[in-house]
Symmetry: C2
Subunit: 115 residues, 2 copies
């Protein structure tokens, strides 16, 4: 009981630490509305491809996101089965919509749609 309680605080603070980075927080907000592949994130954020991959790995290691290969691309999506999925969703709902970023991508012809 006491141990469980501490584990919970530990786990939540770990999740908040991951979301306490602007790039990862924005990634999560983007994923709330659209699955996204690595190269799209690279186009959206001003960051190297390995930088993007490492952020995604942290999110994946914490089971916050899932990855699926579709052809040559690997798409990331929110893990809506996560133990704290409700908390995370609530939290993301406070954030301003980031769809403008997808619109910009589309305008540059960089949006990947894999059907």
């Amino acid at each position: 009981m006491s141990v469980d309680r501490k584990l919970d605080m530990q786990e939540v603070s770990q999740i908040l630490k991951l979301l306490g980075d602007k790039t990862r927080l924005t990634m999560m907000k983007l994923l709330q509305s659209h699955d996204c592949c690595v190269c799209e994130f690279v186009a959206i954020f001003n960051m190297s491809q390995p930088g993007i991959s490492q952020h995604l790995r942290k999110l994946k290691d914490a089971s916050l996101v899932k990855e699926t290969r579709r052809g040559q691309w690997i798409f990331y999506s929110l893990n809506r089965d996560h133990d704290y999925a409700l908390l995370i969703d609530d939290l993301l709902n406070y954030l301003p919509d980031q769809n403008e970023r997808f619109i910009e991508l589309e305008a540059q012809g960089l949006r990947i749609s894999c059907d």
Copy 2:
């Protein structure tokens, strides 16, 4: 507008970074139910007094908590007027109750009540 959006993401991620530390997150949860002075935090957490003070300073610098001197003690309380007070309160409501910690304090005669 675009600038505001970015500021928001920046500010929220900064807050989550602060809450992404187990000590500070637990402090905030404790403060949700009781104001608390520094020496109580020192008794609750296994950490030096300067360590506690520095966590509190970070929370105060971000306006997440307020301080009030009462006699020889300085009490900390949640700043319920913070721009993101709703988000923070929602978030804290997901966390397990930490009142047991106050009960333990009381049992050790370390609870400060300043009336």
